[in-house]
Amino acid sequence: MIDKTVHSVAEALDGIADGAVVLLGGFGAVGQANALVEGLIAQGARDLTIVANNAGAGKIGLARLLAAGRVRRVVCSFPRGGAGASVFEELYKAGKVELEIVPQGTLAERLRAAGAGIPAFYTPTGVGTVIAEGRETREIGGRTYLLEYALPGDAALIEAWQADRWGNLTYRASGRNFNPVMATAARLTIVQTTHLVELGVLAPEAIVTPGIFVDRVVRVATPADAQA
């Protein structure tokens, strides 16, 4: 019997190595797999590259991982937090973390490309800006485009609304965001969910991430607990 569920966050995170590229779903506070992200502190992996839309806000999730000194580099579109300087901004100012800024749509497309076996693509985004500096361009049909490469991860930490033992996933409202894209882009896709359901409960037309993209599923008590 296929059963991708595991019994603890520690088991879910087993094998993520020092230096790994880790993709974190979520946008704002919604859809962040914070139980898994914070689990990385106990798990112990160091020197991580984190790919996420934001560079962490408040004192939870990625902000805690950053504060624990586990992150060498952040690839994101919008590192600024809310009010006041974030943990990331302080580390960045102190030269303790590297930053690669990627336009949000290019970030999403590079992740999608990694999951889809597309090694590189052309995009109009960023032409004529600092993003284009040192980058290959190409004219197609009279318009200039940048060459962008796929961005694969060693692991992806995903938050799903519902999951079953095959790893099929659904998401709630704007909790979808980067999660289904990143789920396709990593060699090891790890999911936290509050709703573990029996196989067959999720309608085949309503499954957003088919289990083929998912390696492990761990149930967390509630999203609130997950973020405690």
Partner: protein, 215 residues
């Protein structure tokens, strides 16, 4: 600035020009409030880059769904007919030219349509692009909604942007507290003036050369 429109009036000025049925993305900040000023009964479909189409009015505090936010991370509601999708699909809508309109704020707009709206310095502690570059080049039309000048009274509509560009040559129209200005092949042409504002006042507060309203 003396005599100009309030922020709500600016948003309403722009909202009146959005026809029924358009798909519209509103940037963070001032553009977001445009949604509150669409004339009653006119269906406009608002898109947010975090995977939401069909955004409705802001929820009452007791009706906030923590799972439903817009790109500015504010709680929103979803209208009947609304839908959710993931980030790659959301930016496929943007970059693929499916939005009729994007409204962005800006630090500067140049007379050739260049827009600078993401950072005022490349030595920023944490320069943040977000979806701005994709929105600026992807929507069928880009309108800018911003105060005509900075708080220090410096022009935001310039001959050449001094800040790092978001995208070159993409702005089609500018709404400010003083005027509505079209970016045309001939240059910046004033399309409309705020009540009590004359052309000379607008030109005086603008670095770039303006063309008068063509009647």
């Amino acid at each position: 600035m003396s005599g100009g429109l309030s922020r709500a009036e600016m948003a309403a000025w722009l909202a009146r020009d959005i026809p029924e049925g358009w798909y519209v993305n509103l940037g963070i900040g001032l553009p977001t409030i445009v949604a509150d000023h669409v004339p009653a009964g006119r269906e406009v479909v608002f898109h947010s880059e975090n995977g939401v189409l069909g955004i409705g009015p802001a929820p009452a505090p007791e009706q906030v769904d923590p799972w439903l936010i817009n790109a500015g991370k504010q709680p929103v509601t979803l209208l009947p007919g609304g839908s959710y999708f993931h980030h790659a699909d959301s930016f496929a809508m943007i970059r693929g030219g499916h939005l009729d309109l994007c409204v962005l704020g800006a630090f500067q707009v140049a007379d050739n349509g260049d827009i600078a709206n993401w950072t005022t310095s490349l030595s920023d502690t944490a320069p943040a692009i977000g979806g701005a570059m994709d929105l600026a080049i992807g929507a069928r039309r880009l309108w800018v909604l911003m105060e005509h000048t900075t708080r220090q009274g410096l022009p935001r509509i310039v001959r050449r942007c001094s800040y790092p560009l978001t995208a070159p040559g993409v702005v089609r129209r500018i709404y400010t507290d003083l005027a509505v200005i079209d970016v045309t092949a001939e240059g910046l042409r004033v399309r409309d003036l705020a009540p009590g504002i004359d052309f000379a006042t607008v030109q005086a507060r603008t670095d770039a050369t303006l063309l008068p309203v063509s009647r």
